[in-house]
Chain length 205, copies 2
């Protein structure tokens, strides 16, 4: 029934500390047909992060070359580091029929919005600024200056929430995962994914 050739595209953004990474990890562990597009970045790996799994860690020079060769479908600079999604890796997943999650910031989301009209855009919010502050405080690596910078940036990103199709307020993790799954399931039912030929052959002759 479905046009099997392409999977769905799900762009997910959130201010740092909203819980986006945890939600995405849960979704991926529960759904074999959903994949996350691994971003390239110039930032240094944090403890426990693996190359090719969390990110592709590359040098600034390599990243700049990839930009000039138009190898990214989106890229952005955040807190002095670069992040980008490889066109080749992304297209490889989508054209294999996987539903693909892009975990990117609002700058990147805007670029995808302009070039992939079939994308579904989801913004994740913390339940309140108080909770966001608490969650950022729990990350021990954050200095006070770091924290101020993240909160300031959070406000800038949250202002963009209505560029997105959906908003999930991440209060209880399990609920948020189910809500994101519902959005992905619904998208699979979208009438523009039905093959007109299947309708014709099956019902109209």
């Amino acid at each position: 029934m479905q046009k099997k050739s392409r999977g769905g595209i799900f762009v997910i953004s959130a201010p740092s500390g909203a819980g986006k990474t945890t939600i995405c990890k849960k979704i991926l562990s529960r759904n074999a047909n959903i994949k996350q597009s691994v971003s390239f970045t110039t930032r240094k790996p944090r403890k426990g992060e693996k190359n090719g799994e969390d990110y592709y860690f590359v040098a600034q020079k390599t990243f700049q070359q990839m930009i000039s060769r138009n190898e990214f479908i989106e890229w952005a600079e955040v807190h002095g580091n670069f992040y980008g999604t490889s066109r080749k890796k992304f297209e490889g997943l989508v054209s294999s029929g996987f539903d693909v999650i892009l975990d990117i910031d609002t700058q990147g989301a805007r670029q995808i919005r302009n070039s992939f009209s079939e994308g579904v855009f989801i913004f994740i919010l913390p339940p309140s600024i108080k909770v966001l502050r608490e969650r950022l405080q729990d990350r021990k690596s954050n200095t006070k200056k770091d924290m101020q910078r993240r909160l300031k940036r959070a406000a800038v990103e949250i202002k963009d929430y209505n560029m997105y199709d959906y908003v999930i307020v991440n209060d209880i993790l399990g609920d948020s995962v189910k809500k994101l799954e519902a959005i992905i399931t619904a998208r699979r039912m979208s009438s523009d994914r039905v093959d007109p030929k299947w309708i014709k052959d099956n019902f109209l002759r």
Copy 2:
């Protein structure tokens, strides 16, 4: 967070025999916050049908008066009988915050599409024409002529599938119910249901 004042509007159409009524009944029994708008009709009650529950059964004359008083948000003639949704009853449910299911035909759906832009439109298909035929045969009340008429009408309705936002192929009942629930859940996350004042008060000052 949500604009609580209005519920969602879910318009569901399907050719006779696709299983729409069964799916809707399941959804309603599982979700107290979803209500079905009971239609008015001029057709005679079938065995077991209750006035005010399955339909409001009214005389042709009453129905015509309601049309002339603009009391329907949609109405249609199907197989010689009239069916319509009362504006008052419908608005009563939506403005109380219930998500409301309208179980109506494609003619009615088109009228709602023009007047309620926030509506979500769902078309239910049988897995094949063969299954549709079998399901219609199982309904003992159907004469052969009746069956021909229903199949002909099914083809006309199915041609309109791409007027709808979503298509559910009703193969396994339990799956179809879950898919419809996912569509309703997703709609609740829609970014246009977020109160901008809530965003401002909570995050941007």
